[in-house]
Amino acid sequence: MRALRFALAAFLRDARGGELGVLAGAIIVAVTALTAVGFFTNRMALGIREQAGTVLAADLRLESGRPLEADGPYVAEARRRGLAATRLVGFASVVVAGGTTQLASVVAAGKGYPLRGSLKLAPAPFAPGVASRGLPAPGEAWVDPRLLARLGVAVGGELALGAERFRVSAVLDYRPDQGTGFQDLAPTILIPAGDVAATRLVQPGSRATWSLLFAGPADAVEGYASWLRAHKSDAERLIDVGESSEQMKSATERAGRFLNLAALVTVLLAAVAVAMGARRYATRHLDTAALLKCMGASQGFVLRVTVLELTGVALAAALLGTLAGFAAQAGLGYLVRGLVRGDLPPPSLAPAALGLGTALVMLVGFALAPLLQLRQVPPARVLRHTLEPPPLRYGLPYLVAVATLALLLIGLVRDPRLIGYAAGGIALAGLALFGAGLGLVRALKRLRGGAGIAWRYGLASVARRGRESAVQIVAFGLGLTVLLLLVLVRNDLLGEWRRTLPPDAPNHFLINIEPADAAPLADLLVAHGVPRPALAPWVRARLTAVNGAPLKTRMPKTDRGRAFAEREQNLSWSATLPADNRVVEGRFWEHPDPRRPEVSVASEFQEELGLKLHDRLTFDVAGDTVEAEVTSVRKVRWDGFRPNFFLLFAPGVLESSTGTLMTSVHLDAAQRPLLTELVRRFPSVTVFDVDALISQVRDLVDRAALAVEYVSAFTLLAGLVVLLAAIQATRDERRYESAVLRTLGASRRTVLLGVAAEFVALGLCAGLLAAGAATAIGWLLATRLFGLGYSLDATVWLAGIAGGVLIVGLSGTLAARDVVTSPPSRTLREG
């Protein structure tokens, strides 16, 4: 209790006397940056999640081959929880117009569809679509342009669907859930749900898919999804946003990682700032601690007072920082409002708790070592000022700090691999910087003989502080490393990623190409200026057994795994590993033996079905049984928009099976009318327009890039504060030195130049080493984590050296300039 009273008084006095400025400032900025990032990424994540939700046309979707009631218990429960709900019925049917028939995918939509995203309608086939609300009126249909082209029907014309006739009132250019797989690629005709009965197409036992769509606040959706998982039958498949489509998932994951990386860097910088602030706090309190002990305070009492006072600092700084962070994110939200599609949702309050928790954890973690030092300050220091506490033992306290930080990071980033690489890289960089810093200090000892007085003083300061200089180089260097890393991530890695989605990325898939049509179709494309496409063979099959055991006996537990197992598989074959594929297990065949069939599986398929290398997969290919051994697992980049397959066979196994070919091509706006001719000449070919999907993915990338830009602005600020904290830590010492020098006759300019020389030297070294470290970490991140190529970037080195010299040199000199302006007499009198 006495310690608490003492600590409270000490807190108020220290706060009044400006003693807590550096430490509290560091924590405030750290928490501000962290919570601003937290709040903002929270909003961005919610925004991205909402946008990704448009792929489902909902936040949550329940699908079944058996009827789902539009007013059944599922919908009732959803409405009770405040969710919007609607129902779709989808089925395949022949559409008739004039004398022409075409297979179409009929979607009968209930009121409110789509719950997320919007339909796009066009006035004429293949004209640009415009977002639109509502549904076709009774007796009307909105129809896919490919279907209209094949049927030769214009807007305003009529077509027959089962027993009912529909008037085409608009061209359906885009619907959010039109599918990103290849199961349901027949062109869509959208009719109102009320008209299904009149068509008489959906009868008991009909092959149709019933879908219930749900949307609402994230918390309610999550709660409802858990409820639904517990109550739905096994035949009903629940799809949430996370698994809504392979492409969107891949892009969302990447976007999340970029945001997480930025958050991670901010946390690391904050930790550095707190460690430095705590060191200064301890140094400034050595005398007071010695005095307290001299007057009879026990070691435990000194420690308790210090810990309690710092907890007060943490609480106050966390509160101020969180408020500032909230304000900062609101400003950010306002700034990006015109740039992102739609309004960003308000943030949840979770980051506030995170800010407080982080401030406490980091303060305890990173202030512990210097505080333990305070406890051990010899009381005789009151008589001999040169007496220091035993040297700081970095071992245990910092181990505790690193462990707490790791736990915090895992909680924050939820990506152990990302943390591993980044933390490992930064730890290595720190060690390298420390070693190099010591080397530099030794080198400077030799250099200073030949320099002028200012340089000699500056370099002597670096050399004399020895280990401290090296520690400063590590601090500066780490700050610079993460800043450069951000530049790398923002420009190089992000650029590298964006380059994988070039403007001429394929935007149309052509599937169901009969082998006989392959050559004339390719000729037609070439005649219209499209490069000759590479055609991938494609055979449909069912997976029936694994290692001889029927699939039914080893059904995966997850919905997604079950969907993988149950659906019709798309098989292809290739002699070589396709682009966008990387073998992560086993070996890709070089000289396959057709008598020993081999299959290569995509990592998602392998994980969901729990497959291992050398497992034997049995397929039913149009009545024939084909068995193949898994000889490799591939990591596939689905957002390259090239034909890729979960299951890829070695040549010589499937060639005799009845299959078709598929390809993807890029068609620009001027080339799009070619599609009308193409579907007329090759009626069996299904054209799948991925333009809309690509722009969805690109929109996500842009959003992620924007978020990272803003987040890095905060990280930059945090880095600068770390830098200033480092300078602040040596100000007392510098003030005294400069007073001595000036008393001895050095001019103000000489002392200032000396200070500048010191910081330039430190900055040069830190910058050089930081560029090296950032390059190494960037290479690791690019090649190991993001699976991107990496090219050496000279600008990082230039920016590192220039940035180090400028930022450290300029900020250091500026921050220390009042050292030379304060009258030496006063400094010397005050000691």
Binding site: R2, A9, R13, G17, M295, G296, A297, Q299, E830
Partner: protein, 226 residues
């Protein structure tokens, strides 16, 4: 009755040139209410001896007794607890906490000892040194002499049995130093405190009941026995 006794106290430290003896076999005792000056040139070991006597440092050999308790047998916290109850300090460089006002500085030992009415007692102590009007001033707003008077108030406020003073006038000009010395001895007499004073000023030393002279860590003059 003996308040303080030093028995064969030695302090050695290791240096690049080998072991250095700073205090060499010093023995003496101080009676209650007595004032003792320890004099000697710079580097003679005065301050180290003072630190050992006050339990701020431990000797390499020998023992120190404070009010009959063997100080050197206690651990650091035990010595601190003894200091809290029995000992006051005055330093050459005042050692006021810069972020505390004069009043708060004087309250410090009372609060540490957990005494009630710290503020009223401290106010009285500052009145006694003539600083009753400067209670809310910070050390930087006070002159050197005033700062040392605050330090004196802080040293006497807990009514210690024993007061250690390390060059109490060393940072002051002679006129101010004389006034502070006057105050120190006046308060000491009034409170009946035992005073151990380290100084190199002969004039100050002469005002004490006894003088011990230290040279190269050894007692070379003065009256070693009470």
């Amino acid at each position: 009755m003996q308040v303080l006794e030093s028995r064969h106290v030695s302090k050695e430290v290791s240096s690049p040139d080998g072991t250095l003896t700073i205090v060499d076999d010093v023995s003496f005792a101080v009676e209650r209410g007595q004032s003792l000056a320890i004099v000697g040139p710079s580097g003679s070991g005065k301050s180290t001896l003072l630190a050992i006597l006050a339990g701020l440092e431990t000797p390499t050999r020998g023992a120190v007794f404070l009010n009959g308790h063997e100080l050197t047998a206690l651990d650091e916290d035990g010595r601190a607890a003894l200091r809290a109850r029995r000992v006051g300090f005055v330093f050459q460089s005042f050692h006021l906490v810069p972020s505390l006002t004069a009043l708060e500085n004087v309250m410090l030992p009372l609060e540490l000892a957990g005494l009630a009415d710290a503020a009223a007692t401290a106010r009285g102590a500052l009145d006694a040194v003539g600083l009753g009007a400067r209670l809310g001033h910070y050390p930087r707003q006070l002159s050197g002499g005033e700062q040392q008077r605050v330090a004196l108030a802080r040293a006497f406020v807990g009514r210690p049995d024993l007061l250690f003073a390390d060059e109490p006038t060393g940072n002051l000009d002679s006129a101010t130093g004389a006034k502070v010395a006057e105050l120190l001895f006046g308060l000491n007499r009034a409170a009946g405190t035992t005073l151990v004073l380290v100084t190199h000023e002969r004039e100050l030393a002469r005002r004490c009941d006894r003088v011990l002279e230290l040279d190269a860590g050894r007692l070379v003059g003065g009256n070693a026995a009470p």
